[in-house]
Symmetry: C2
């Protein structure tokens, strides 16, 4: 079997961990598999390199920041290859350019355009384990480019697709994808499988197991992704197409506490107002999650409410203050004491009763719903942040998620 | 003018130093020059990376050690390029492979085989300062290779040759090549110029300004090398062909205190004995400096004395103990309380009185000469280590080296 294994920075943070991971790889080889390894930078390396650049320059050139950060993964790959070799497992490190990973050249957030797998195939044919730097590739002009956050997952999935690998395993300090964050919902447990779409909804809802871009790439390439823990031998969670992961309509629930609600009160109820608000935020790079518009029939004025990430709050407040003025609105409300709870499942689209079950669970706990958003596979509610933990447990229970497996 | 400037690790050890060096480069550009910069790894980076590998593996694979160590210069180049850009001097980092530096692929001690300067020329044509990683290139199989000690000097000289640069400046914390080590000879002063051959003799005698391999490459390529200080604007020393650096026959004196004398007493006085001794040491990678053979006419036995680096002492003692046994010799003497003082100058070959002047200077100070070695441009004497400092000052004075300029 041809297996791609990706190990994140927290799995490589100490000498002991590097040796432990090398032993896992060696075992996989000894079981008769061909293995390609993808590594992130070790521990805090990337943050340390950023700090070194900040000591010198306030806004470093993106090309040079990429050249600098890419060295973290190069060090990981070289150290892992020499550790494997010392264990008697022939291994060879590959930088992004050596592994044939070609990107669109967008520094700091490059997209993989093609993987030329010849060099990796040649190593595999020699019985050598290629150890590839995650997070990087080479742009059209020959410059090193990094892929942005979560880029090492993407590297592993792209290589698995290019090599037509049998498995793509993403190792981290989490044992897979859970029915809910176990720190919030004690009865949460790992899922054996879920679909790409479910994973995408969960990723954007705050579950940090697999990065959104990586899941999108996996869905496009049809690569099944195994999310597993570096620290045990449990099977973890498989993310793949058309999975029927559960009997019920809901697969998992998610919580995002890092959001802020903003509301423009008393703006004109005319076409294009909501579009104007959204455009102003989008042109500053602010992602809007939920949008809700209500019309008051008394004075023909409307209220527009939306949610954004907490980190965009100050920027958004400045923009919306101006927008309120432009529109002749009455008031801008900013509320960071909110959270979003979501129920995600491929079965949501076919089960009209899902929304009712969720709202009933919140109502029984006397939790007020401020905003609602639905998609084919998700129902999300904005509630008060202090009630979020209780809400998530109630919803988890309402869909019998603790009873599975 | 097209100038190649190389900055060593001690010139880049702190944030302040990196900014200082960037300012020097910017000034050179503002004076109307085109500049190519070559950088070493910053401060202790290389030693830190070696320590990290040693934590994991005892004998790391040479290929992976190269991949690991090369990241130190990559970080330097990226940080320097972003610092230059922040100063308004457009700059771009180049790894060895990006700069077109091709080696023979010998990991850890690769030799530069060719430099394809197209990428650097393209950057220069755009008004961009290329910042190239020293110490590394790419082998025939696409692997990163390092050049060994002093490799960054070699990188700068090879690039200067490939670009047909007008100047090649090697910056360090030393103000050039001196008539003697100023820590030993207070009256020593920097030389304006000296020949490649003189520099080679001085480099092998312990002067650490330019590395031997780099000087050999410069001589072969006909590149004039300026050794200058990062910390002042003095002109430094030019190393070039056929220079008449001085009025007298001797240009500089050198001291090497890190040598050991070994003597095999009472070995047969037959042809091939000295060759056998040297072969045994050479096959273990031990360089012999001076060799001296004396024949005792009483018993037809010979004494063979030689000098080696202190660092080879224990290995050489083991080999020569066996050699003594093989040859039926009488005794092995090992003496580390020795030093070598040398007088170097292109004029030595044409001035028969040079040796006499040197021996007279030592005799007047009642310093005993244990061994003598001469070449066309050098006279070297082995003396007792405790007398070395006094000897060097005496010789320096005897050739009037303090009176120049």
């Amino acid at each position: 079997m041809l297996v791609v294994q990706k190990y994140g920075g927290s799995s490589l943070a100490t000498t002991e961990l590097v040796k432990h991971v090398a032993t896992k790889i060696t075992q996989t080889v000894q079981q008769g598999n061909q293995v390609v390894v993808v590594v992130s930078a070790m521990g805090d390396t990337t943050d340390d390199l950023i700090a070194r650049s900040e000591d010198l320059v306030t806004n470093p050139v993106a090309r040079e920041m990429d050249a600098l950060l890419a060295t973290g993964e190069m060090q990981s790959a070289a150290l892992m290859a020499m550790t494997l070799s010392a264990q008697g497992t022939p291994a060879r490190s590959f930088s992004g350019w050596q592994a044939g990973i070609r990107t669109d050249g967008e520094h700091g957030k490059a997209r993989i355009q093609a993987v030329n797998p010849e060099a990796l195939q040649a190593a595999l044919a020699e019985g050598i384990v290629p150890v590839v730097t995650g997070f990087q590739g080479i742009g059209p002009d020959g410059a090193v480019t990094t892929l942005g956050r979560g880029g090492s997952d993407l590297t592993a999935i792209a290589i698995a697709a290019a090599l037509d690998a049998d498995r793509c395993e993403i190792y981290s300090d989490v044992a897979g994808v859970f029915t809910a964050d176990p720190r919030v919902v004690p009865l949460a447990h790992p899922l054996a499988a879920l679909s790409y779409d479910e994973m995408l909804e969960l990723a954007s809802q705050g579950a940090q197991v697999l990065q959104t871009q990586a899941v999108l790439y996996a869905r496009g390439a049809g690569v099944a992704v195994h999310a597993r823990s570096t620290f045990d031998d449990e099977p973890g969670t498989v993310v793949r197409d058309d999975v029927r992961s559960s009997d019920g309509p809901v697969t998992a629930v998610a919580l995002d506490s890092h959001i802020t609600k903003m509301a423009l009160l008393g703006v004109p109820d005319t076409p294009g107002v909501a579009a104007y608000v959204c455009e102003q935020l989008a042109s500053s790079g602010i992602n809007i999650d939920l949008v809700f518009q209500a019309v008051s029939h008394e004075d023909e004025r409307a209220d527009i409410a939306l949610t954004i990430a907490d980190s965009d709050r100050d920027k958004a407040r400045g923009i919306l203050t101006q927008v309120l003025k432009d529109l002749g609105g009455r008031q801008l409300l900013v509320d960071s004491e909110v959270a979003k709870v979501s129920a995600v499942g491929a079965g949501v689209r076919n089960h009209p009763g899902v929304a009712a079950t969720m709202f009933r669970a919140l109502a029984d706990a006397e939790i007020n719903i401020q905003m609602i958003s639905t998609s084919e596979i998700k129902i999300a509610c904005i509630i008060h942040r202090h009630e979020a933990q209780q809400a998530l447990n109630r919803i988890h229970a309402a869909f019998n998620l603790e009873d599975r497996d």
